[in-house]
Amino acid sequence: MKHVFIIVLAAAALLGTLSYRTAFSQEANSYSLIIEDHRFKPSELQVPAGQKFKLIVDNRDPTPEEFESHALKLEKVIPGKRQATLNVGPLQPGGYDFVGEFHEKTAQGRLVAQ
């Protein structure tokens, strides 16, 4: 009984380490967008489908912006002159529109998952 317990514990530890390493390698999996003059640069960004990634949005304007996407179900206010990180995915292949809600006329962009 005791052995079984130890084996289970070891297996759990191994699994934990593995999943941690997977999680860690995903940390590096990040993509960047810039907000400048209330526009996204680039306005279309290629991202991988079927895996989680981080989207780093750098707001270079002095005013706050809200990154919002109905397709991605994401919303986050980014204060002026700040960066924000969004956890995205895993996505099905396809296009996902997003806007800067505070300047919706100009701040428009699209993620393309492949």
């Binding site: 706050p64 109905h70 397709a71 179900k73 994401l74 986050k76 204060p79 956890n87 505070f102």
Partner: protein, 275 residues
């Protein structure tokens, strides 16, 4: 100006609908205006504070502070709504009998009033802080103060009109169904908020999504349409929910609904007392 109007309207709408439900639930309670009004004032004050600390909040929790803050505010509101419903299930019938017998004396209603006033404050705080940040951006962006103020006020007005319409509609519910109807509305409101809070925790990567989206009905009824938004607030409509959000939605319905049943006292037989 139109852009400002639309955004302010969107934010005000959610708070206005929450307030209309609270006003319906407290329809015959003496002094409810002070409680609800107090909730709005506290919420407005809180929203400027939250907007002022936006940067601090954003930097907290390894950059996920905003998500965690929103989720906490929403879960707190859910617990207040749940508490109210359980309390009303326990005492509501007595209150109803009392009201019918004695007109409008319901001082015992203060406890759930505090819960509902808190919900109002939290709704105003969450939506209000975004409005403050947005209007600040407009004013600082060189568009001038006038378009910001006029758009903001018109948006506020439009949101208030929808809330008022909803309230006037709810007032048509006959008194004998009132407790059942408002309990049901509040239960759905709570479940929707729990699902919304779950969405923020998924965004923060604190919870797995368990399939996102579980379904997509945006082609039938887009959540950002007026009807979609109203249903989003009232019953938690979500056109592209994550599996985990559905789990939390149902769990809230079952847990709060179950507790309402458990704590529900049987209807006391009306005593024939000579008045």
């Amino acid at each position: 100006m139109i852009g400002t109007l639309v955004i302010v309207f969107r934010e005000v709408l959610e708070a206005a609908l929450v307030i209309s439900i609270v006003l319906t639930a407290t329809r015959s309670v003496v002094g409810r205006g002070w409680w609800v009004g107090g909730g709005v004032v506290v919420g407005l004050a809180g929203s400027t504070v939250v907007a002022g600390f936006a940067q601090v909040i954003a930097d907290a929790a390894a950059g996920m502070g905003q998500e965690i803050f929103n989720a906490s505010v929403l879960f707190f509101a859910v617990s207040m709504l749940g508490w109210h419903n359980i309390w009303v299930g326990r005492h509501g019938r007595e209150l109803a009998l009392e009201m019918n017998a004695m007109g409008r004396r319901v001082s015992a209603g203060e406890l759930p009033l505090l819960a509902l006033a808190t919900v109002v404050a939290l709704a105003v705080l969450r939506e209000g802080s975004e409005v403050v940040l947005f209007l600040y951006g407009i004013a600082a962006g060189g568009d001038g103060v006038w378009p910001m103020l006029s758009g903001g006020l018109l948006g506020l007005l439009a949101g208030a009109v929808v809330g008022l319409t909803m309230y006037l509609g709810l007032l048509r519910i006959p008194t004998r169904y009132l407790f059942t109807a408002t309990s049901g509305l509040i239960l759905l409101l709570a479940a929707g908020m729990a699902a919304q809070a779950t969405g923020f925790l998924i965004q923060a990567d604190w919870l797995p999504a368990w399939q996102q989206p579980l379904w997509d009905t945006s082609a039938i009824l887009a959540e950002q349409s007026l009807l979609g938004q109203i249903l989003h607030v009232l019953v938690g409509y979500n056109d592209r929910p994550a599996g985990m959000q559905v789990v939390f939605y149902l769990a809230t319905l079952f847990v709060v609904g179950g507790l309402m049943r458990v704590f529900n006292t049987p209807t006391p037989q009306p005593q024939r007392v000579a008045a």
